[in-house]
Amino acid sequence: MAMANLQLEPEMPVTNDEYGDTMTINGGRLEAIQRGEQVDSYTHEILKNEEAVLDIANFNLWYGNDQALHNITMCVPHGKVTALIGPSGCGKSTLLRSVNRLNDLIDSVRIEGSMRLSGDDIYTTGVDVIELRKRMGMVFQKSNPFPMSIYENVIYSLRIDGERNRSLLDEVCERSLRGAALWDEVKDRLHSSALALSGGQQQRLCIARAIAAEPEVLLMDEPCSSLDPIATSKIEDLIEELKGSYTVLIVTHNMQQASRTSDYTAFMYLGQLIEYGATDEIFTNPALKETEDYVSGRFG
């Protein structure tokens, strides 16, 4: 339905500077994608200057026979917040969950292509998935505190490593809770159940848990979608603060959130990366018509 209103762009030259080839796309990319064709993504030049923590190259993913990700190529810059936007079902979450290999839990998943975390290949035989996941933190759409005390929740990743040093654990707990802006609210009841916290507090607790092990990348899968506006703004402030010390890859449905919190934004559609660039550029002056339509709310 939305497609009918789309204005088709006449022949438009696109330069994919990062990979050095020039291409021309005939007409609407979205329609081409819907027809099942492979389109090339447009990556802004500015990303070339960034130091990439996560490097995704020609990544494809299938659920059984259904291809969910098509030839994704993008890099996640170090110390920056990168947002993934796009309509529902476009593969944002799948891409995010491919980074820490949570998709491995699903039997029918098959992948092609490569992902590198600080130069180490994620998808190669012999990779210790557990060690790999310890280098990343993840925050889920719905807060999922564990059925244990607040303290134990935060230091969970250290506990499973067998860390026994009490003072270190205390220190990590306080630092993570401060980092997640939760310390002042819970410092007097660290040993009471985490399940007694409010929804927003639970989500910040999950963020504290995710940053406890000082991850190289922090993955956030729509962290505010089940929260009220006040809790949402707290989390957004928090992401702002995490910027610089952590690399954040965040999936969001909320375009305002993406524009407020992120440095870079990638727009995806039906499993393909459409445009990827600095957030300002994407929201105010996107290179592609499709991106402009999406961010201005004309479709999606």
Partner: protein
């Protein structure tokens, strides 16, 4: 067509009952169908009938359960309350004395009335006719089984001389170790062969003074019989087993062993001639087949010394018991039954006695409590119809505990594999269906399996490897506490597996993913997140399993529950825990009392008290498990939204 339908519909709305007459048979089917569906819909739409139906079903169920509980609690509670002793005389001139047990209305045989003396027969016949041939009769517990040959007698009201029913002041109820109760009048107290009192009042005072002292002696003798004699017996038995073990190992010539045993017997009690003959015979055999090995000869020597030690201990204890017996037997009470027969009772044989018709309420309460205490603490006597059920309580509790300890890890591990590790497929579904079906297999089948597999195959193998010296009498190769617990654990395993699987499935996937995302391995996730979260559900399964296991009787009859087993599975004898021993079980005890007892009338109230106890026991076990679950739930599941 459509018009007709419309009309019919209108009729249906206005007057559904009448509308049936309007519908012509055969024709206009559509209209009929519509109308009927409308009527059904209106019942469906109005909630009230369903509220009544469901509510009624619930109240019926609650009523039945409450009724059962009330019957059990009422009958169980009144059993030990001391009643008064009635005495009355029949027209035939027979005196009866006893407690009224129960009463009912019945239709007497004409011969019963015809046998009455002439002067009352007519008036009885008139009264009977007035009451439609019905008469009232009472079941009197006359006791004195050793004198009368019966415990109970039915006595119809018309057989009794009117106004002869009295409550004699000095009617005394005596509970004895054997022969059941005795009802009579105390006539004399005899101590050391002398009658020291012959007035009931004085006899009773003397009895109360001496009885506790004599009972202490009796308890001392009992302890000697159980513990010390047992110890001496074990010395003898162990010596025999040790010799048998060496014999199996060394394999001495059978003819030599036979000749030696012959000699041994003469040495214990034979003439000098016989002994020398036996020695000669032994020497001849030694020449023929050779001497057995030194090890065996050594074993014989140590057996003989051990045997002598055991025998000496045995004799010493027997002597002590004999002197205790002599001392106790000096205390006697003479009782006169209501029919004039005299009975001399040893004080040591009296458990409890009281003048039933002189009791104050406090005395009654004291007797009531002391009977309950005996019931809970003492061993059974009189073919289980008197005394206590302590071994049965102990057996039930131990068996349930061992069963729970066995079934919990197995059930949880099996469910963990099924739910967490196994790849979903045909095989897993088949296993799951099989496990679910296993829960429906009749328990007696598990009993047969337990007897065949645990007792005979596994127990038999254990016997052959470790207890060869004791064969052919089995140690583990028969029913026992351990095998009963194994069998019930197997029986309740499906319950635990199914409940655990459901509890595991109910753990939110988001929690697992969160754990994986933190870098936890599968086992760490299961151990730290999934199991704690599923624990309340697992506990539910355990509660169900325990409730089923504790109340189960049928399989136990095959794998180790017995009528009487005063030797507890845990006692002071090394190695202190004897899982191979047979045990008593409250459920089986109820069956035994109710259907196997010779004195069934007297056993009936015990059925109720034992049932009450079993229900209380299971309720206690369940309530403690539920309490534990509530605590866990508060910790792991609360406030989740």
């Amino acid at each position: 067509m459509s018009r007709t339908v419309k009309e019919n519909n209108n009729v249906a709305v206005q007057n559904p009952a009448e509308s049936n007459h309007h519908t012509s048979p055969g024709g206009n089917g559509l209209g009929t169908r519509r109308r009927r569906s409308k009527a059904v819909n209106s019942v469906m739409a109005h909630g009230e009938p369903w509220v009544w139906l469901t509510g009624g079903a619930l109240s019926l169920a609650v009523l039945m359960i409450l009724g059962l509980l009330i019957i059990v609690i009422y009958n169980g509670s009144i059993t030990y309350w001391p009643g008064s002793i009635h005495q009355f005389t029949s027209h035939a001139g027979v005196n009866y004395m006893g407690e009224e047990f129960r009463s009912e209305n019945f239709t007497p045989q004409p011969s019963a009335v015809n046998n009455l003396p002439d002067e009352v027969r007519d008036s009885v016949a008139v009264t009977l006719a007035e009451n439609d041939g019905l008469s009232h009769r009472r079941l009197i517990r006359t006791a004195n089984f050793d004198l009368l040959g019966t415990h109970f007698t039915w006595i119809s009201d018309f057989e009794v001389i009117p106004d002869s029913d009295v409550l004699p002041e000095w009617a005394v109820l005596v509970e004895r170790m054997t022969w059941g109760r005795f009802y009579g009048f105390p006539s004399a107290l005899e101590i050391k062969g002398e009658i020291i009192a012959d007035d009931p009042h004085e006899v009773w005072e003397g009895f109360q003074k001496n009885h506790p002292k004599v009972r202490r002696l009796w308890q001392k003798r009992r302890s000697l019989e159980i513990h010390d004699l047992g110890r001496a017996n074990r010395i003898l038995e162990n010596a025999r087993l040790e010799l048998r073990r060496v014999e199996l190992q060394e394999n001495p010539p059978a003819t030599w062993v036979a000749a030696y045993e012959h000699l041994h017997r003469f040495r214990a009690g034979g003439t000098q001639e016989e002994i020398s003959e036996a020695i000669e015979a032994l020497e001849i055999i030694e020449k023929e087949v050779g001497k057995p090995s030194d090890v065996y000869l050594q074993a014989i020597k140590s057996f003989e010394s051990e045997h002598n030690r055991g025998q000496e201990a045995f004799l010493a204890i027997n002597e002590e018991i004999f002197s205790l017996n002599q001392e106790m037997d000096q205390y006697k009470i003479h009782m006169t039954a209501v029919d004039g027969q005299e009975k001399i009772l040893n004080l040591a044989e009296i458990v409890r006695a009281y003048p039933a018709n002189q009791l104050s309420v406090w005395d009654k309460i004291r007797i009531y409590l002391s009977r309950w205490w005996e019931f809970l603490r003492a061993d059974p006597r009189e073919a289980n119809s008197e005394g206590g059920v302590f071994p049965a309580i102990f057996g039930t509790v131990t068996m349930t505990m061992i069963m729970s300890l066995l079934v919990a890890p197995f059930g949880v591990l099996a469910a963990l594999y099924l739910r967490e590790y196994a790849k979903a497929g045909l095989a897993v579904s088949a296993v799951r269906i099989a496990v679910n079906n296993l829960a429906g297999v009749p328990s007696i089948v598990f009993g047969v399996f337990g007897l065949g597999f645990f007792c005979y195959i596994i127990g038999g193998s254990i016997d052959e490897i470790f207890f060869q010296a004791k064969l052919p009498s089995p140690t583990y190769g028969k029913g026992g506490l351990m095998w009963a617990s194994f069998t019930l654990a197997l029986m309740t395993l499906p319950v635990v597996i199914v409940a655990t699987e459901e509890a595991l499935a109910a753990v939110p996937g988001s929690m697992r993913q969160g754990s994986y995302a933190c870098g936890a391995s599968k086992w760490q996730t299961i151990y730290r997140i999934v199991l704690p979260r599923a624990m309340p559900g697992i506990m539910t399964g355990m509660i169900l399993a325990m409730a089923r296991g504790a109340g189960e009787v049928a399989p136990l009859m095959l794998v180790g529950a017995v009528k009487l087993a005063p030797e507890l599975p845990i006692d002071r004898v090394f190695p202190f825990i004897h899982p191979e021993r047979s045990f008593m079980h409250l459920g089986f005890h109820i069956y035994d009392l109710g259907f196997q007892s010779q004195n069934s009338e007297a056993a009936k109230p015990m059925v109720f008290t034992t049932t009450l106890l079993l229900i209380a026991l299971i309720a206690t076990l369940n309530i403690s498990a539920i309490w534990l679950r509530t605590r866990m739930r508060r910790r792991f599941v609360a406030n989740q939204f």
